[in-house]
Structures are given as structure tokens and as C-alpha cells.
Subunit: 691 residues, 2 copies
Amino acid sequence: MNMPPPTTPSTPGTADAATAGRFPAHRPSRTIVEPVSPMVDGGAFAGKASIGRPVRIVADVFTDGHDVVFAEAAVGSASSDAVRTIPMAPLGNDRFEAWFTPDELGRWNYEVTGWVSHAETWRLGTAAKVAAGLDVEVEAAIGAALVAAMRATPHHAATDADLARLATLGTALESGNTEAITDDDWTQLFHRCEPRDAADSGAPLPIDVDPLLGAIGSWYSFFPRSTASDGDVAPDAPGTLRTAIDRLDHIADMGFDVVYIPPVHPIGTTNRKGRDNSTNAQDGDVGSPYAIGSPDGGHFAVAPELGTVDDVTALAAACDARGMKLALDIAFNCSPDHPWVSEHPDWFVRRPDGSIQYAENPPKKYEDIYPLDFETDDWQALWTELADVFRFWIERGVTIFRVDNPHTKAFAFWEWAIGEIRTAHPEVIFLSEAFTRPRVMQRLAKLGFNQSYTYFAWRHTAHELREYFEELSTETIDFLRPNAWPNTHDILTEQLQHGGRAGFVSRAILAATMSPSWGVYGPLFELLETSPRDGVEDYLDSEKYEVRHWNLDRADSLAPLLARLNEIRRQHPALCDLASITFHPCDDESLLCFTKTDPAGIGDPVLVVVNVDPFAEHRGFVDVDLAAVGLEYESSYDVVDRLGGTTHHWRGNRNYVELSPYGAMAHIFTVHGHRPAAADATNDDPGRTIR
Amino acid sequence: MNMPPPTTPSTPGTADAATAGRFPAHRPSRTIVEPVSPMVDGGAFAGKASIGRPVRIVADVFTDGHDVVFAEAAVGSASSDAVRTIPMAPLGNDRFEAWFTPDELGRWNYEVTGWVSHAETWRLGTAAKVAAGLDVEVEAAIGAALVAAMRATPHHAATDADLARLATLGTALESGNTEAITDDDWTQLFHRCEPRDAADSGAPLPIDVDPLLGAIGSWYSFFPRSTASDGDVAPDAPGTLRTAIDRLDHIADMGFDVVYIPPVHPIGTTNRKGRDNSTNAQDGDVGSPYAIGSPDGGHFAVAPELGTVDDVTALAAACDARGMKLALDIAFNCSPDHPWVSEHPDWFVRRPDGSIQYAENPPKKYEDIYPLDFETDDWQALWTELADVFRFWIERGVTIFRVDNPHTKAFAFWEWAIGEIRTAHPEVIFLSEAFTRPRVMQRLAKLGFNQSYTYFAWRHTAHELREYFEELSTETIDFLRPNAWPNTHDILTEQLQHGGRAGFVSRAILAATMSPSWGVYGPLFELLETSPRDGVEDYLDSEKYEVRHWNLDRADSLAPLLARLNEIRRQHPALCDLASITFHPCDDESLLCFTKTDPAGIGDPVLVVVNVDPFAEHRGFVDVDLAAVGLEYESSYDVVDRLGGTTHHWRGNRNYVELSPYGAMAHIFTVHGHRPAAADATNDDPGRTIR
């Protein structure tokens, strides 16, 4: 230490000895790696990805000063030792990205490393000096030393061809010749060959890979007991799982991917609900399928009037045969008649009067349902039994579960149960039906639900929809996958009640184009059912409490629209992306305009404009940031309406649209940009698409 | 398990045995705790807080279902076993907050716990049933059991008075009397007394507590060698640290808190820079104080022409005597003449021709500076020596360091050095002068710099300022504390060059009111200096390379404005808050309007409107969300301009302002709301302020 003459009595620098033991064990890398995405709560939960679909890894990687840094992602399935390393591309502002496509279901992990490239720093600096006419004799010698070091201890990714090229470069540099360094493919070679003093992102970050239907799919729900008119039974008799099979062609013809049915289990009779949620059931009332359990069994049984366990397997197989999947509804509700009530009385809360605590939301009572007590001392047996419900149906051919009200069961149970089941069955998909507060929905998504119902049904204005999908496509994109439903068998929104056909059309288009997964409560959506039970956003004469019959051949059915939407989604994969959604201003606040692109880079970009007001025509200019669809400012391009069929030639960012309940409520455009002629005068395909 | 008759050959539920060992050791709490703030990278870095200033702890706490949850924060200094527990208040949507005021410097930790309150759930449910006229006989019995459990094993926070009240309640409930439960203070009592099945936020989350000046202060910088005209020396002679002492009264009179001076060390002569950054120094050129080191010494020495190490101590003491603090500039640059160059040649990079690598940004060269090599094998000695520089000056009375270009030194060094020094000297403050990319600035803030220079100088429009301060007040608020400077000795923005006096006024007001810490490069700001060196945003005839003399008594000096701004900041602590900053729309896009409140809840809310355009008058309505200042929609209130002195009676959210270069460029209003008379007709002080 260089000390000045003592000027004060104290002895500076005497802390050395005390701190010497607190140094890091090795000189730390100068590089910093901050992982960005996919990352959920710092790695406490897994991100989500789909098999066969590109995953984007993003990290911030930087060092002190102005040296060039390189970054690399290492990705591997937890069940294999194979690791893929992917060089990361700089995006500017210290951010890097890499893409990979998982080819195996289950848990994956990734790690990002970053390091200073002295070779690339030297190469770019020397090139700048050459360009400025400076003498680079010393730089050539520095480069020769760097090349010699690379050849002496190359990184293991170096190829023989790399080393041969380095040998040639070394010889040139030793003779003072720097001509070769302006070639930009040295960047990749140095990335492969240079020894690394690398930093990494810490512990490996988890990603759970599930089937594509975990993220992207079209869902259709119906009540099997209301399918009698489809089959060979007496006209007024209830339908069964077998008559439900007869309904499948109709659903497959509309292009749906998932067929979802309410619980199939025996329905309790004690305190059974009557029609329209009445507490006084009449003779012959069929009860709610959510009041589960009777002397015929509980969650491992099928209601005799619907069929048998084998019929569920047959229904699942019939779905498979049509390219669809069956989703079973698992509701951990017990009717007072559920076998668990007598077999496991300690799984329920007993009141001081000896009765079992029914569900309530004071002062409301739901006496047909006994909630399970997740604070029971017998929790391990309870958890095991509930997980076995899923296992039971998995063994019988079901791989998708719509889970009813998961937010009223302990979070720790779900985390354990989904983890256990996913380990053995990574193909299984859980949809969380938690219409509740945001933190609760988000936690369920974090702990493992593949996808979640959303607030879509209650986001009506263009502003609300934009704000909501901006949140879904950024803040929660790593873990919460939305499934958007205009209606469900519990939800008939005021907008659908009053908006007429145009309202149904607008809402179906919004759900199918904004959200990778969407669904409808089928027959009542197709047939424009709008009658609410008094004062609530629910259906009158609801199928939850009675058997209905539907004429699906009605001329005014929306089935053709639903079929077309599903067809367009298949043909234009950009529509099923969420991360790329970008909203664009419109002059009219009832017009919602957004674009999406295909992350695989194959499909055309899409540009959707929807009139969200079912009552009036809206018109005006949309102002599209063309960069969002890969076009240059002031480009000319064609937009082809995949719904209406028309093609428009648009120019620049501002273009006119008008959408009306009396005409089209939306455009679902694909965007076809032209390269500017001046930029590529010899281009023999002037109309080729920019992606 | 309740199994149906076998219908398929497979045996359901056989996974039990395999999973039994994977249960959690104990039944997990039903409650989820997700800490929100202060939290930096999930707890990898410490949040920041100031001694004596309220800290807000925020967490999301929730459970399954609809039970009431309670939350509590436990806070303690790492150097003490004392832990404060603070009940957290619900903010809605599952978010809770608690406030505490640290009374000790150094590392603190906090933890959040949450639990289901069965007692409060019961109390509210029963009250709802009573209100609905339902029979609550069973509920009284349930309550009696809950009370008995609380009395049997109360939480340790229960007081004797609590237990006595519980005894009374128990007796009443046993006789079926539920009258007492409507009293809301049971909430607090149950919080204290009920046994808890709690979840916590995981590992304790760190917070570093530093002196108030770490967050809030007014900074003034000047060159001691340009203070000769203040003192008893020949008129053209350079100033010294002693003449700098004579400058302090002027600075203290303006109300500044921190006096910051450039490096005081010996200046090298090899490749010394001449006036205006010329590479050909002339005889008599004094050199840049950033080219540190000469035969007179390096970072432990003082340039002989400035004085001695004791003079620094005297200057620091003279600042202290005036209620200010001295900030020393630590720049780890070495001139070729620095003693380290010969004593530690391995701390520098040697080129193949035997020369030492100078600083460069190819093709530019900075041959007067040798950068330290943080990749040296002798890194422990280098780190130790650099940390000793801080220790040396701390031992001589300096507690604030403005660190020059920390982003060109290894991050790992800063994390280690600041950690080491802070452990022994928690009173020391480090200001990061890293005018570089966001991730780099943020990382330096995370790893321990108390505060950071900002992009403020280059944020000119109201939109830019709003966007930047929205980011500073949300995304980075837990770790990056901004210090906003309209100018520095390196920065004379184009706006200041051309905006005239109104530009200086507008920029000073913006810095002083938007940012808790702000500063000016003093004499040249006071005296409206606007001459740039050709083509760069830097000063002509810069003090960095020559001695200047200033007449601070000029009639047009901005000193009175600066003094008034600092006075207003002291009188109205809301101005020094950042988290509460809320921006409000204005009709005119050159008017910036924002409000702030005092987190201690004592000072008045403030409402600031600034004309950011120095060239023209701007007028229009501002549209203030009155909730941001604690007023009701459509309130009437007085706004008192602390700058201009006028008072206006405003009503509702939209009110008119006009601000002009020829009149006032800004209003700094305090806001004085009246309680609506109807709400409190007997109020004998109708004008009392709502805070």
C-alpha cells in the first residue's frame, strides 16, 4: 500500500487482516447474469412451455466497462443428461434472448451463462482503429496472443474447422496482417472457442413442458344428460354418456379440441336443489351434478342414470377418435350422501349440535354441500384420496381435468397433488376454475395448474380488454395461461343477455382471437340463449338443475361462425400466441385493434379489429405500429380478412375501418407486406410476405 | 378409500405407497404469504431505508376459501435480538401493509407471517346471521369453543386484559348471548390472542438502513481551486481547500445539505490534458483532477497546490459546523505517474510492446489514464487497497463518497467493498456516478450504492419526465434512490445552453421537487453559465482543466431561488418523498403536474405544476385525482403557492393554471382541504387540513 506521510495519529488500512478471510474463494467473474424469463418468483415455481412450441429465454447479461459480453443458455429435460447449449442473441440494452423447442413432456431446467469476450472486444476495437487509419501493429500482436490462448485451451465447443481457422488467423496476425478480422463470422467462432471466465444465473430455473392443449385449444362444454334428442331414446328421456357420444360429431365438425362435461358422479338426494336453484326439489328433479355422492358412490363412480365408468372411457375414446380430448370436471364437493361422510367423518367439520358443517357464505347457506376440512389431522389420507380421484380417471383414459373451485381447497394440497400426478403423468392438464381474486388465481397457476379461467366474461369495453390482456401477456405470462369463455354453464353475462346476435358474434371473436385457449358453453351459445334467472348472471331453467333438449339444427345457429373461428385459428397460428399481442389505438373507443405474430416465424402476422359494442356501428381510423408485424414505417401491404374474405390494400399506419351489427362485427386480417421495390429491385417475387 | 366395483383390470390408487414418503413433514398452513416490498430480486439484495423515516412493508396474504386472514410483520436490526411485531392492515385484494421506523443504522431484516383467524371468521359470519335474523344458537356454541381454545393456549401477545375480556365473552356465549361480538375491537384482540397456524415469507428479507442523506438531500458541487476570489489570496492565484472553507457560508445560506468536491489528489503530468480537454497541455495548465497520481502520491494524498490531508479534515469539520456534510469524489483512475503503476505493475494491463494499456474507446484514446485491471491475479490486494482508500478518508472525517464511473470497475468488487465498509461504518453514503445503461445503474444500486445519478438531465418533456419518475417510483423504488442534477461539471445540456433563465428556473424546480435528492454544479448554475465546448454537452473553459473565478454576488444570480427551493423542501417533507408521486393530466402537454404526500402523515400534501418549456407561456386545466391528496371527489380546497406566495381556492379536479417564462414557471402548492360541512356539522374548525 502506498501511504502518505502520517498526518494524523490513526493508522489507515489496518482493517486488512480482519477482512482477508471474507474474500470470495475465487476471483469472481466480471460478468453479471440476471435471468428475466421464464422465471416465476425467482425460480420458486416453474415456468410453462408446450411441447413442440418455441420457448423464448430472456436474460440481462452485462459487465463493467465497455467489453463485449457473450451469453449462452443451457437447456435440458430433468429426465435426461442431455443438455442443449444455445448462443443468446443480443437485443440491445444488455438484454439477450435464445429460443428452444422442447421435445419431451415434463420438467425442464435452464441456466444462462455470460462472459467477457476479450477476443471480440479486441476484434471490434481493432477494426475501428483500422477504419480510422490508426496504426494497429500492437493490436495485431495482442490479437495473436489472444488467438494463441484460444488454440491452447479452447472452450469445448470449438470444432476442428474453428481451430484450423484460428491457426490461419494467428499466422496472419503474427505477421501484422489484420485484414481477416472484419469478417463478422468471427463472432460465432470466438463464442465457440474462447476460454470463458463465466458467470451464471444461479440455480437452474425450472420450466414445465406440457401438451399443446395446456396452452392452446378450443373448448366446448355441454351436459350429457341434455343430449337425449341426439340419440335413440324416447324424446323426453334424459341423455346419457352414450347419447353424448352421438353429440361428438357435431362438436368435432366445429373444430373444437376439448370436450368438457360437468361432473359425472352420483348426485345426492339430501337437500337436493330443484329447478332454478330452488331449495325445494320436486319429485323427478335430477339435482345438480356438483352435489356429489350418493349410496351409488362418490368421485370414483358414475351416476347410474348417466351410465358407467366404462362409458366415460368410451366417451374419452370417442373424443380421441375425432381428434379431440375429453375434459372431466372434478369438483371436491360432497353431498350429505357421499360415502366419505360416513367413512371419513373426520374429513368434515362437526358442529356443536352434532351436525356436519355445510357450505355457507353468511347469511347464505348451501345445505346440499359439505366442504372437506383441509385442517383435518387425517390430512395425509385426505390428500391421498383426492389425488387418487385424478389417478382413477387417468387410468380410465381421461387426461384433462377442469377443476371446480380449486381456490376453496388448500393451496398446499394442489401443489403436492399436481406435482405427484405430473411426475407420473406429464401429459395431464389441469384447468383451474377459480373465478376469484387475482392473487389467488395467480397462486394456483404458479403452483401447477396448466391453465386458468379468466375475467374475460366481464371485460366488455375495448379499454378493459386491452388492459386485461396487456397484463396477461406480460406480468403473468410465465405462469398463467388464460382460457377465455364468453359464457359458461354458470355465467350468462348481462352483455350476452342484452346484446343480441351481434353481442354473441363479437364476444366469440374476441375470445377466439385474443386468448390461446377459449371455450363456449356450447348449445346455449350456438343457440343464442339469453334468458337469465331473475337478478343473477346465470341461465334461467339452467341445465345444472334440469334436463334440457336442444335443436342444434336451427337455421340461426352460430355453429358456422364457431367452426370458422376454429378453422382460422388452425390456419393462422399467430392467433394462438399471447406474448406477441400488441394493441393499437383506434379513433373510436368501441373498436379494439391488436396484432399478433407467430413465434415459430412461419405463419402470417394477424391484425384483428373488433367492434365491442353490439348496439351500434363504429368507424374510424386504426393506427397500427407496423413494426409489431415486421413492416417498415410507411409500408404498403395487403390485409386479407379471413372472416369476411375481402382483401384491402393498406398503406402506412392509419387506415379506415367500419364495423357494424348490421354487417361485419370484426376483421380478422392476415397481413402481407411487400418489400419496397427500391430496396430489392431484382426481386422476382415482389409480393412475398414479410414475417 | 372408497372404491367402486372394479370395472377395468387396472387397480386404481396404487400410487399411495410410492407417494407416502413425499408428504410435507407437517400439515402445511392454509395461508400463503407472498412478500412484495421492500424486496430486491427475491431477497438477494437488501432494500433501502432511512433512519427515522417510516418504511412501508407490503405483502400479499391470503388463504383458500373465504376465511379471514391476519398478517403481521416482524422487524429487527441484525445487530440486536429485539424484534418488533407489527400487525398488518388489509388494503383490499389480499394486500396488507405495515409501517415501521428504523432507529438504528445498518442491516435490518423483516419477515411477514399470516394465518387464518377462525375467531374473526366466526365473529363476522355470526354477526351477518344475527343481522339477517337467523338463529345463532349453534354459532354461540362454536364461538364459546373458539374462546375456550384461545384462553387455553393464547398466542404470546395476549395481555391479561385480553384474557379477562375473553373470559367475559366466553361466559356470554355459553349462555347463548352473542351481543358483544359486534364490537370491532375484537379484531385486534383476536389478532393478539388466537393460536396461529401461520405461514411465513420464507427467509428474512434484508433492509439496509442508512442516514437520511442516503435518500434525501440537496447537493452543491464546486471546484476548490476556483475559490480563490473568496479568500485572502492574490486575485489570480488558484484556490485551495482552505479558501474552499470560505465558500461554505454561501452554500449553507442556500440551504444545501451536501458539499461535493472533485478529487483532491495529486494530478499527473504525463500526457496531462490542457484547457478544454486539449491533449497538448501548456505550461501552467493545472490538469484534470481525474488524472490521479504523481510523485506526490495517489489516492491517499492531497495535491500540494490544494493543501494537505488535514485540510480535508478541516473542510469536513467546517461543513459539519454549518449543518452540512462533505462528499469526496473517489475516482479509481490512475495517471501514468500514480505510485501504483510502479509499485503494483500487475494491477495494470501490459501491451506486447511493454507499454501499459491506457483507457480507450476505439478509435478514441485517453492516454492520461491507465485503467486498473480487475482481472489481475493479485485481485485481493487490489480490492483491499481500493477499500482502504475509503477507509483512509473515513478515518479523516469524510462520510459521503461520490464514486466516479463505478460501472467501469468490477461489480463484485463494489459488492464486497461496500459490504465491508458498511459493516464497520453504516453511516457512510456512496453515490454512484454511472451515467450508463439502465441495467448497469440498477445493478450498482442493488449491490449497495445508497443513491445514484439519473437520466434526469436528459428528460425534458413532461411526458419523458413523467414516464421516468413513474419508473423510479415503482419498478426500482426498493433499491435505486435517484439524485437529480440539472447540470454537473461534465454536463451542460442543450436545453440549458439555449433555454435562458426560464430554463434554469424550470429545471431547478423540477429537480428539487421531483427527486428526494437533487444537486447543482453550483457556481455555474447560479450564474446561468450556458457556453458549451464545441459540439458537446459540456462547458467551455471547463473547470476540469483550468482555474476559474466567479462573482457570486451578481444581481441575476439564481441563489435566492435555490435557497427558497431548499427551504420549501425542509418545510414540506412531502416534496422529498418519491413513492407517493402521482402524475395528473394537463390540457397542455408542456405542463407537468404531480402530487406527493408525506409518508409520516404530518406534512401537507403538495401539488406541483411546472412549465417545462422555457420558450413560451403554457396554460390550461390540470385534472387532479383528488384521492391522491386525500380529498374527496368534488371537494373544495385551498392551494397555497409556496414559491409565488399566492393562494387559490380550488374546487374539484379540474382547475386552471398558466405558467410563463415572463412570470412564474411553476407552482409549488401545498394543499389544504376542508371537510365537507355536511359530514361534520359540529366541526368548530371548518378549515382544518385533511392529510
